[in-house]
């Protein structure tokens, strides 16, 4: 019997700018390698929001992309919030990480409302935080990627960062946190893409999805070809 895991790619047309597709591809392959059947469902503004979603992935977009999706996001916000509270694993990178927070205040002072899944606030700044980044998390080990953002995100009380920054900037220039977590939702500025070089996070999302749907999850041993060298070299590159 095929046991499927449905991945929802949120705003795949307009919010996919920095290799966000790599996260979806990585999940789909690893779901298969773990013995399940991945199904990728693309959701774009105006579509009917599908049922039976097991994992949600979202990425970054250009200003024009964000303005195209922002009303739709507010519309499906309550639905996403409910799914987050029901422990659906989600990964939101960059632009959608910001909009999963309470608001984004641009450097011109305009306030773009977020959906408040994460208790975070983001402020547009003039400085662009850009370059290779390495953070560390107790749960996932070293997390290696690339950041490129001018919005700086600040976490409210009771929200934990995904990792502590070792190299790079992270959420903002004021503290050493990078990313945010709430239940099984992970927000982060890191791309590169994030999941292929940090498969412990990918497997965590898969594990939560499978457990939620089928009760138990037994990970299969995946041979991690090229991974350690790719991580090692990436971590040693100039910012």
């Amino acid at each position: 019997m095929n046991r499927t895991i449905n991945i929802l790619h949120l705003y795949s047309n307009d919010m996919n700018i920095y290799g966000d597709r790599g996260n979806v591809l990585c999940l789909a392959r690893r779901i298969k390698w773990h013995g399940y059947e991945p199904e990728i469902i693309e959701y774009n503004q105006g579509d009917e929001f599908p049922d039976n979603i097991d994992i949600i992935i979202g990425g970054g977009g250009q200003d024009s992309g964000q303005s195209k999706i922002k009303n739709d996001l507010i519309k499906i916000g309550p639905k996403l919030k409910q799914l987050a509270n029901d422990d659906v694993p989600m990964l939101m990178i960059c632009g959608l990480y910001q909009l999963f927070g309470k608001f984004f205040k641009t450097s011109e002072g305009e306030i773009i409302k977020g959906i408040g899944v994460l208790n975070t606030e983001t402020y547009g700044m003039s400085e662009r935080l850009i370059g290779n980044i390495v953070t560390h998390s107790e749960q996932f080990g070293d997390i290696i990627g690339y950041e490129n953002h001018s919005g700086q995100t600040f976490l409210g009380p009771n929200v934990h960062p995904l990792g502590r920054v070792h190299l790079g900037a992270g959420n903002n220039t004021a503290d050493i946190g990078e990313g945010a977590r709430y239940k099984n939702v992970i927000g982060s500025y890191m791309h590169g893409s994030l999941l292929p070089k940090n498969p412990t996070i990918a497997d965590y999302l898969i594990e939560q999805a499978v457990k939620r749907k089928y009760g138990t999850f037994t990970a299969r041993k995946i041979k991690e070809q090229y991974l350690n060298k790719a991580r090692e070299i990436a971590a040693g590159r100039p910012r």
């Binding site: 290799g19 591809l25 024009s64 292929p196």
Partner: protein, 455 residues
């Protein structure tokens, strides 16, 4: 006397490998030198830099600082004016084609041939071509310019013609966003006085026409039947059809085969053989033809144009054909996801040994995310023989997730290239490489085969 003293002093410093100090002294003392003096100075530095194997832009940089109007003053007198070619992909090849098309019509053309498409690269190229009085012996200048640099350039020098090829995802870590890039191209179009040639099939480029006078715009395009070969960024991850629009185009690519193409030129069918390979190079030929027709107007000799087009060979590193130990080797430069995707669609992987070399130096872009926006499944059947470059393991990991098998991974270009040449046996070789990886590979190849040396 003071100026002359510094001039010589600087040159001595320069000869003793102190270009930075030399530059600083120039900037401090010699801001307003005369044109002939600047010309001589620049030419001298150019030859000295050349002797030392220096980069192509340094002499231009010096000249640009001591005589900021150097380029505009030198280009101002050209009888047919200045032509700017810009866009994300295909600039170098298209520029080369346009130059050869116009030369075939008997024009003397100045161009920034080395692909150093920065303003100072143009200054450096000018230094090589002007006479001692600072006069350029040419009818027209055809310049390839990066979007970001073109914007500054057109503020100083008004182009008569421009050709805008496409807006695709380039190094976002350098230029910001695609919408910005479109605005840059729009500014080039606004500044152009005579004709703007636009890609009808690129939604963003074609959209620039809206804000221009109709008579100022010409299009090039392809027949709808070819649209599957030209994925746009918009349908990169979605099922949206790219919009082959119904606007009238001066030149349309209607069919292509291996080393041949059929164009509709002003409605008339023209068939030709081509030395260019790769679909996107052939599409660039349509762009070049449309631009050349716009420049030449009624004086265009169509038969000669097509004949010249059939003889154009690919530009340096753009599907350029080399030979190693008697075996063909193609170098394909890949700079961004759209270019990489187009190349993979253009070159058939069958019966070829494939190598991919990915560096992440500043000129390549440091962010590896772009590799995840390229679909590599077309390489799955034959596999990839060799992966190399600083980020070889990122590339190998990327291929693993497309379930493409990889034979060898080696970050060192020399070891990788040796093993690739040896293990590809009798198969023709193809290397996809980022910019600095290409420079490295060319340098290595130059020791074993004849390769054009970049000045």
């Amino acid at each position: 006397m003071k100026v002359r003293f510094h001039f010589r002093y600087d040159l001595v410093l320069y000869l003793f490998n102190c270009p930075d100090i030399t530059l600083a002294i120039y900037l401090r003392y010699n801001r307003h030198m005369s044109r002939p003096l600047v010309t001589i100075l620049g030419k001298t530095i150019k030859s000295v830099a050349g002797l030392r194997g220096g980069g192509s832009a340094l002499p231009g940089l010096v000249v640009e600082h001591i005589y900021p109007e150097f380029i505009s003053h030198t280009l101002f007198d050209l009888p047919l004016g200045v032509v700017v070619i810009s866009g994300t992909n295909g600039k170098t090849t298209t520029t080369k084609m346009v130059v050869e098309l116009l030369e075939g019509q008997g024009l003397k053309v100045f161009t920034n041939r080395t692909g150093s498409n920065f303003t100072r690269g143009i200054a450096a190229a000018l230094l090589g071509d002007i006479n001692i009085k600072g006069k350029l012996d040419a009818d027209i200048a055809i310049l390839e310019l990066d979007e970001a640099h073109a914007v500054h350039f057109v503020e100083k020098i008004t182009p008569r013609f421009s050709l805008l090829l496409n807006v695709m995802r380039d190094q976002l870590d350098r230029f910001g966003e695609i919408d910005n890039t479109t605005n840059m191209l729009r500014r080039i179009a606004d500044k152009t006085t005579d004709t703007v040639v636009l890609n009808r099939e690129d939604r963003k480029v074609a959209g620039i026409a809206k804000s221009l006078d109709n008579h100022k715009v010409k299009f090039f395009g392809f027949d709808k039947s070819l649209s599957e070969f030209f994925p746009s960024d918009d349908d990169l991850h979605s099922k949206i059809q790219s919009v082959g629009s119904n606007k009238k185009a001066d030149v349309i690519l209607s069919k292509f085969s291996d080393h041949g193409a059929t164009f509709l030129v002003d409605g008339n069918e023209v068939k030709t053989k081509l030395k260019l390979n790769g679909i996107y190079n052939v599409f660039n030929a349509a762009a070049a033809l449309a631009l050349a027709r716009a420049i030449l107007g009624e004086k265009a000799d169509q038969d000669k144009l097509i004949k010249a087009l059939s003889k154009v060979t690919p530009a340096f590193g753009r599907g350029e054909a080399l030979a190693v130990n008697g075996k063909p080797l193609e170098l394909v430069l890949v700079k961004n996801p759209s270019g990489f995707r187009l190349s993979l669609k253009s070159f058939d992987a069958n019966n070829h040994a494939t190598m991919i070399a990915i560096n992440d130096n500043y000129a390549d872009g440091r962010d590896m995310s772009w590799l995840w926006d390229v679909d590599f499944t077309s390489l799955a059947e034959n596999g990839v023989q060799q992966v190399s470059g600083i980020r070889a393991y990122d590339m190998a990991l990327r291929l693993r997730y497309d379930e493409v098998s990889v034979k060898n991974v080696e970050t060192d270009l020399k070891i990788a290239l040796d093993s690739f040449v040896k293990e590809s046996k009798s198969r023709p070789m193809r290397i996809y490489c980022t910019y600095t990886a290409m420079l490295g590979i060319r340098k290595l190849l130059s020791k074993i085969t004849k390769v054009e040396v970049v000045k």
